[in-house]
């Protein structure tokens, strides 16, 4: 029951940025709600997997692949490119805090007179997480077209 509330909270607060960024990318008004749906499902699915102690990279990969499948079904119905929904939908999963910590750590490293092992470890862990989550996002998103739509167009 508690998990359900967490997931609903997650879905709601992931839908808002999906719509906000869809507006920055100038997605037509009639498609905004589909961006919200895809974003909400993707992010709460990732939270669901994280709840069962999946590593965040694999959870992100699975959620991005799910978003890829959902957005292809939207795209077929509306004759619109699937990436239009998908990029807005995965925005809430972009590893923003890891990326922020990485670059702030880097700047602090360069400002210090000697390299501290603690700060270096901080930069490396956060940087690796950033890179792998980003890779998981975009390869997961491309999964349907890499596996299923190999020789024919989606629409």
């Amino acid at each position: 029951m508690e998990l359900l509330w967490i997931l609903i909270d997650d879905a709601f607060f992931a839908a808002i940025p999906a719509v906000g960024f869809a507006m920055v990318f100038n997605v037509p008004v009639r498609f905004l709600k589909y961006c919200a749906i895809a974003g909400a499902i993707g992010h709460s699915f990732r939270r669901f997997l994280l709840h069962f102690d999946f590593p965040i990279e694999w959870a992100t990969f699975a959620a991005a692949a799910l978003i890829g499948i959902i957005t292809i079904s939207f795209a077929k119905r509306h004759l619109a490119p699937p990436l239009m929904y998908a990029v807005a939908a995965i925005i809430p999963m972009i590893p923003g805090s890891y990326a922020f910590n990485t670059v702030i750590g880097l700047v602090q490293l360069s400002a210090q007179s000697e390299v501290s092992a603690e700060l270096t470890a901080f930069v490396i862990t956060n940087g690796l997480k950033t890179v792998f989550i980003l890779g998981a996002l975009s390869v997961g998103l491309a999964m349907p077209s890499l596996l299923y739509y190999r020789t024919r167009p989606v629409i």
Partner: protein
């Protein structure tokens, strides 16, 4: 097919490809749409060479080739236009549109963006949601809302005056981060670090990054790498803005 007709069709197809590239479609989609449109309008084949700021297109009918090059500049991302072009392509393929209708609809395309009065509060709310998802309390969410809404207003203001995108990102990040440090000065929130993280997330170049990896995975190496380069530069310039703001506020060092 007369030579005039081939020239005209080629012009329309290259216009479609140019718009797609300028408004942020991935290379695979550009190639696919222009080839399908060209074939639907009666060309035998369409070959494209795409690079980051220009494209070369050759059309072939009855052994006669037409090659044309288009230079283009960045316009930012506009999915409405990409969507419209995809629709033109599909309708032409189904036989509903001929050359005349394609030309008419292409001439009508113009880039419309959302007005600032919707965009600014929506981005504020988006970043506040990020802050909530990272585990911030509601005071932190409010700070994030104002920081990113002010940042977005600055970003739109600068973009309207046609400044370089990199300068735009650096200045926006600077202003946003300055506002987000409010939680350190007045201890209203238990998590003063989260507004600083969440409010600058509106500057993450999501579309260039996803397009870059998607292009590279599907074999369009040079376009992918140049898009990746752009995304990296944008990130670096916003980091410069953040760093200056944090040093001014004495947050580290």
């Amino acid at each position: 097919m007369y030579a005039d007709t081939q020239n005209d069709i080629t012009r329309q197809v290259v216009r479609v490809a140019q718009l797609l590239l300028a408004y942020g479609a991935e290379s695979e989609l550009i190639e696919e749409i222009s080839q399908r449109l060209g074939k639907a309008l009666g060309l035998e084949s369409v070959e494209l060479s795409i690079s980051s700021n220009s494209l070369v297109l050759t059309s072939l009918v009855h052994g006669r080739c037409v090659t044309t090059t288009r230079r283009l500049r960045e316009h930012g991302i506009n999915m409405t236009i990409v969507c419209e072009l995809q629709r033109i392509c599909v309708l032409t393929e189904k036989g509903l549109y001929g050359l005349y209708e394609v030309r008419k609809r292409l001439a009508r395309i113009e880039a419309k963006t959302y007005p600032a009065k919707y965009l600014i509060p929506m981005i504020g709310l988006s970043c506040a949601s990020f802050c909530h998802l990272f585990g911030g309390d509601w005071q932190a969410d409010v700070i994030t809302f104002f920081a990113s809404a002010i940042g977005m207003a600055v970003r739109l203001y600068i973009a309207k005056r046609h400044f370089n995108l990199l300068i735009n990102f650096a200045v926006t990040a600077f202003v946003t981060n300055l506002v987000a440090q409010f939680g350190y000065i007045y201890p209203v929130t238990a998590t003063p670090q989260l507004p600083m993280v969440a409010s600058v997330l509106m500057l993450v170049p999501g579309f260039p990054m996803i397009n870059a990896i998607s292009d590279m995975v599907k074999g369009h190496m040079n376009v992918g790498i140049s898009r990746w380069g752009l995304a990296t530069l944008l990130t670096v310039s916003s980091v410069i803005g953040i760093t200056i703001a944090m040093q001014l506020g004495g947050r580290f060092l």
